[in-house]
Symmetry: C2
């Protein structure tokens, strides 16, 4: 997959703000439109819109437009990529034995 350092920061920025973490908790119950998300968060509409953009940019959330509504949900594929990325970046190389290989 070979993500750049920058791309990795974009993925995990989604989880660096308490309100965005809370949005994940709400979306765990299923797809929801922005106006319903707004009801459960103490945020202005533009602020929520900003957070949803950060979440969609990370790939962990996807938006689906339906008329004037935007429906947001957690992306299973995005989540898998993030988990794989986290595992990769925290894995320690075993191939460092000096006698057999580089």
């Amino acid at each position: 997959m070979e993500l750049s350092n920058k791309q990795i920061t974009v993925i995990f920025k989604s989880l660096c703000d308490e309100n965005r973490v809370q949005i994940f908790r709400i979306l765990q119950n299923g797809e929801l439109c922005a106006c319903h998300l707004l009801e459960e968060l103490h945020l202005s509409q533009p602020t929520l819109s900003h957070h949803m953009k950060v979440l969609c940019d990370s790939g962990l959330v996807v938006g689906r437009k339906e008329g004037k509504w935007m429906h947001y949900s957690i992306s299973a594929e995005g989540a898998k990529i993030a988990v794989d990325c986290l595992k990769e970046i925290t894995a320690v190389n075993e191939s460092e034995c000096k006698c057999c290989n580089k």
Copy 2:
């Protein structure tokens, strides 16, 4: 485990900065002291010290003091907690069927 939103942000802040991601890449080759990390990064010594504090606070990195040196390494336990946390927060509830349970 039941981590708070705040605790989750602390974990993933470790991966929200490109320099810190790069530090993970370097530590993947094994434990390293701060002065050697410094050689591979274009950062001042206090800035590196700051990033190492963020990383240790997240639990993904651990420091081991030996004389005047601090040796840093990736924490396998911390990584496991982070992966579990990421899986949990991105999991979608299945128990939402209206006919059988709440």
